[in-house]
């Protein structure tokens, strides 16, 4: 028999390194052709941070994302930006890049104000153009770079770094402020349980996550969808097992991963509770999105068939075993 049920779970997560100094630096140059060169030791591991940083730099400098060239992750060439982890890159490195861009842009505005002999407050930049509000003075960023370099001998460069506040934890009570920013989320999950085979299929996920400010909504969805499916794997099938220290699951034939046929429809809801403590208001999503999925699945299994799985993964064997125990228990009660 097939039965459906739903479960809910919430999560919270701290952004950036835990109760420890976290920091990143970035350099920016306004380059020929009105392009922007950003250098920072960022680690793109697939989440899309390079695109995110290009969007941030484009917005801050007044160019287009495709005008931004990113030099990354070479300890001999780029300033330190540390690791891809702790849901920190958009937050720490994004704000470092923004602050470096603001430094460069301030210098650029000051020089253009001198060149045009207008107050800097009247100058705007956007999508590759620089102009003076209320005056017929404008040029492309490419021309502006040319003018500054060839007429005034000025190369516009900026730098910036970002750190987040924390206090260490007291070793006995744990008292302390491990992070300055937190995110929250809730997932509801619908499953179908086959009471004959014990197999659980996850059919639908509604995932609402606060990310602070979504720099790239498609990228945020991608993080939520990937996290949900990775957690589905841990909830239902993945198990790295050892016997006397030797693995019995040494490859993908024995270690079962979710495939295209296992995955639910994921409905993401992005909540933006901007972080007032940082220049950009961004927080993060990579890790928190994975937290509520497994318990929501386990709770949905209970809703569907009335068995509580307390030991992951909820394999068909374990679900069947729990169903058998439940039936035996109910028979006892009936007697």
């Amino acid at each position: 028999m097939k039965r459906r049920g739903r479960g809910v779970a919430c999560c919270w997560y701290g952004i950036a390194r835990t109760a420890a100094v976290d920091r990143a630096g970035a350099w920016v140059e306004l380059d020929d052709g009105g392009t922007v060169k950003v250098t920072t030791g960022v680690t793109e591991i697939g989440e899309g941070i390079l695109t995110t940083l290009c969007q941030i730099a484009a917005e801050e400098m007044g160019v287009r994302p495709k005008d931004v060239t990113l030099g990354d992750n070479d300890t001999a060439r780029a300033p330190e930006a540390a690791h891809a982890g702790a849901t920190r890159q958009t937050y720490i490195i994004g704000n470092a890049v923004a602050s470096a861009c603001r430094d460069a842009r301030d210098k650029f505005i000051k020089e253009m104000a001198q060149h045009w002999n207008v107050p800097g407050e009247l100058i705007d930049t956007r999508a590759g153009e620089v102009w003076v509000r209320g005056r017929d003075l404008r040029m492309s960023m490419a021309e502006a770079v040319d003018v500054l370099k060839k007429q005034h001998g000025i190369v516009i460069v900026g730098s910036g770094s970002y750190t987040s506040l924390h206090t260490p934890l007291d070793p006995e009570t744990g008292r302390g402020e491990p992070w300055q920013s937190y995110v929250f989320g809730t997932q509801i999950i619908e499953v179908e349980v086959d009471t004959d085979t014990g197999e659980v299929q996850v059919l639908g996920v509604w995932a609402a996550h606060d990310v602070g400010r979504a720099v790239n909504p498609q990228g945020v969805e991608g993080q939520i969808e990937g996290a949900v499916v990775m957690a589905l794997g841990q909830a239902l099938m993945e198990d790295f097992t050892l016997k006397d220290g030797r693995t019995t699951t040494p490859g993908f034939a024995k270690y079962i991963l979710p495939t295209s046929l296992d995955v639910p429809q994921v409905n993401s809801i992005i909540i933006e509770d901007r972080d007032p403590k940082t220049p950009l208001g961004v927080k993060g999503i990579g890790e928190p999105a994975m937290v509520p999925t497994a318990p929501a699945i386990i709770n949905a299994i209970y809703d569907a068939v009335g068995v509580r799985i307390t030991r992951l993964p909820a394999t068909p064997e374990r679900v069947l075993e729990a169903l058998r125990a439940k039936r035996a228990n109910e028979a006892d009660i009936a007697l």
């Binding site: 997560y13 969007q55 994302p65 744990g174 498609q218 709770n299």
Partner: protein, 637 residues
């Protein structure tokens, strides 16, 4: 065995080559023809990233001896796009955001191409089946499905070609779904990961790994291996010039085993040779005499008096104990109407990034040693390497190669020390590529947890006290374990206002595969138990599980379990948003079996369950295939 003569056509060009007979089609294409677009992910036909067309049929090229492809027409991912113009499908992948790390993507693009060639009107179910032999660890497949459906609709004229173009953005670039800038290089196979990189005079490294979970190395003789033809050098711990002891929080790990092995898969010696075949043959010539030591495989047993000890500096095998004490939990329990206890267990899992570990090390002209590898933390890896190599830090250079998935698994340093030593000693570039099996046995996993949970609540659902006693199996080395304990303890009780909290997160050394950093880092395990436990409590209280969370949710200005004050708290907003989107019908858990009427199940925003044999039934009535495609579209609009 003598070389064989291979003639075949690849991407429209004829090739005739003499090559070693053991080569697989994948090796031939990647190593002989330098077409590295298709990747090796598992070498066992399980992951699909090596998928190529052989005479028009999709094949996993890691399973095909090249001799079997004699005279065949091969198309690799490089052969799909003509003259730098991406195919409709590749452009759809770009538009839909279907690539993340990109390592599975060449195979995905090939499998999706095959699916739409087979049936240009394939519906979502058929697309899913077509991709069923390809694993993606990053995307959750959703955007890949969307990309294939988009390509199908453009090819069929259901959508205009402009649907593939980037949207024009008005207003801020922040908040716009700008297409990923690196996607074209990933869908075309142009992006080179570490295993795709070559350098002139490059050598290859292989590592001898421990077959024993705990043993003293009584004798290690590499002399025969070192003198084999084609072997350049063999490295052991004696080659480490600096401090051979590193880690993230605790320095407890040698570059290669130093006198003792503590887990199966630990590196003992590294052979550097002209090719991987010679290097592997030389591994067999290394003689090790082990004296077996008593081993311990269970974290709680490892804490008992008399248990085998792994590290002298940590008697009792406890490498980290994070405590949180807030309020008075015993009083909280005494004042509770209901006390609920349960034990939860979470398992070790493998990160299973599609790209196995790999790296390339060489000396720059000025003598700087450079390691290029998919490192999630070049900053810290450089700090550690400078100490290990005993060099000024500015003569050690780390360059991150494109990372084919990490999830924390490429954060804890593992093999970069051996690579750097090999480049310094041989003065030649050295490459090391893990097999999937090697990645499984050698790399860190997610910490398995055992959690004893006790929660006290009032009848109205208010939580008065939470106590969580968590024991984590850290395996043979600490790696990121102490940080994982911190996060488990700080976040474990969940985003709820609880006056009395007692948390213990204890990381224990055992002779199991080490555990390390993995996405959600201790919060996955601890919050799992809290959220499962709340469901149990809701049932006992006869409450709706969302209502129980609302009652306890932290609100703006809440005090956390570490007694920090929060600013804005968005938890209730996420609860309401999820409940509304899912049309949550309130009720206590276990409704289905009570036969309650459920208006909430089976909506358009869920997928259909898989039913065995369903497609066979459909194939016999082809009209249905078209029907379900339009049905699917109706659901989407």
């Amino acid at each position: 065995m003598p070389d064989i003569e291979i003639r075949l056509t690849v991407n429209g060009r004829k090739f005739a080559r003499r090559c070693a007979p053991h080569l697989r089609l994948l090796d031939f294409v990647r190593e002989e023809l330098h077409l590295t677009g298709n990747k090796e992910g598992c070498g066992a036909g399980e992951c699909g990233t090596c998928s190529m067309f052989v005479n028009g049929v999709l094949h996993k090229s890691c399973l095909l001896p090249v001799a079997k492809a004699q005279d065949a027409e091969i198309v690799t991912v490089e052969g799909l796009a003509r003259e730098d113009e991406l195919t409709i499908l590749q452009r759809a992948f770009h538009k839909a955001g279907a690539s993340q790390c990109g390592y599975c993507i060449p195979g995905m693009v090939m499998a999706a191409t095959a699916t739409l060639r087979r049936n240009p009107h394939a519906d979502l179910e058929e697309i899913k089946e077509g991709l069923g032999g390809n694993i993606c660890r990053c995307t959750g497949y959703q955007k890949i499905f969307a990309a294939v459906e988009l390509a199908r609709d453009v090819m069929n004229g259901a959508l205009p070609a402009t649907a593939l173009e980037e949207e024009t953005y008005r207003g801020s670039y922040i908040g716009a779904s700008v297409r990923r800038l690196d996607a074209p290089s990933k869908v075309s196979g142009a992006l080179r990961y570490a295993a795709d990189m070559t350098m002139p005079n490059m050598l290859h490294m292989q590592v001898l790994r421990s077959p024993m979970p705990h043993a003293r190395i009584a004798a290690l003789d590499v002399s025969e291996a070192a003198t084999m033809a084609g072997v350049e050098t063999v490295l052991t711990c004696n080659d480490v010039p600096g401090v051979d002891n590193y880690g993230v929080f605790i320095d407890d790990q040698p570059v290669m085993a130093r006198g003792v092995v503590r887990y199966v898969g630990e590196g003992i010696a590294a052979v550097v040779a002209e090719n991987p075949l010679i290097a592997r043959a030389a591994l067999a010539k290394i003689k090790v005499r082990f004296e077996e030591l008593p081993a311990v495989f269970d974290a709680e047993e490892a804490m008992q008096p008399g248990a085998p000890q792994l590290h002298d500096a940590y008697p009792g095998n406890v490498c980290k104990h994070t405590k949180i004490r807030k309020g008075d939990v015993e009083r909280g329990f005494a004042e509770s109407d209901l006390i609920v206890e349960e034990t939860y267990e979470t398992q070790a899992i493998e990160h299973a990034y599609l790209e196995p570990e790999a790296g390339l090390a060489y000396l720059d002209a000025d003598g700087t040693v450079t390691v290029q590898a998919p490192d999630q933390n070049i900053t810290h890896h450089r700090h550690m390497l400078a100490r290990i190599l005993n060099r000024p830090i500015n003569t050690v250079r780390l360059i991150m190669s494109p990372v084919g998935g990490g999830f924390g698994g490429k954060e804890d340093m593992l093999y970069q020390g051996m690579l750097a030593l090999a480049a310094i000693k041989t003065r030649r570039p050295v490459r090391y590529v893990f097999t999937r099996e090697e990645s499984f046995i050698a790399s860190a996993k997610r910490h398995p947890f055992r959690i004893r949970y006790r929660m006290g609540l009032r009848k109205d659902g208010r939580i008065l006290a939470t106590s969580m006693y968590m024991i984590a199996d850290g395996g043979a080395y600490a790696m990121s374990g102490p940080g994982v304990m911190n996060k488990a303890a700080i976040l474990g009780a969940g985003p709820y206002a609880i006056p009395n909290v007692r948390m213990d997160a204890i990381c224990v050394y055992t002779n199991n595969t080490p555990a390390g950093a993995m996405r959600s880092f201790g919060a996955f395990q601890s919050e799992f138990s809290t959220e499962a436990h709340l469901d149990l409590c809701a049932e006992k209280l006869g409450m709706d599980p969302i209502e129980l969370r609302r009652v306890n949710a932290m609100r703006d200005g809440a005090i956390t379990h570490t007694q920090a004050q929060l600013g804005s708290v968005s938890l209730l907003r996420t609860i309401e948003a999820a409940a509304q989107a899912a049309r949550w019908a309130p009720g206590e858990p276990h409704r289905q079996t009570r036969g309650e009427q459920r208006p909430d199940l089976g909506g358009n925003d869920t997928r259909k369950p898989c039913t065995l044999g369903a497609r066979l039934a459909r194939i016999t009535t082809p009209a249905n295939t078209v029907g379900s495609a339009s049905e699917r579209k109706a659901v989407q609009t």
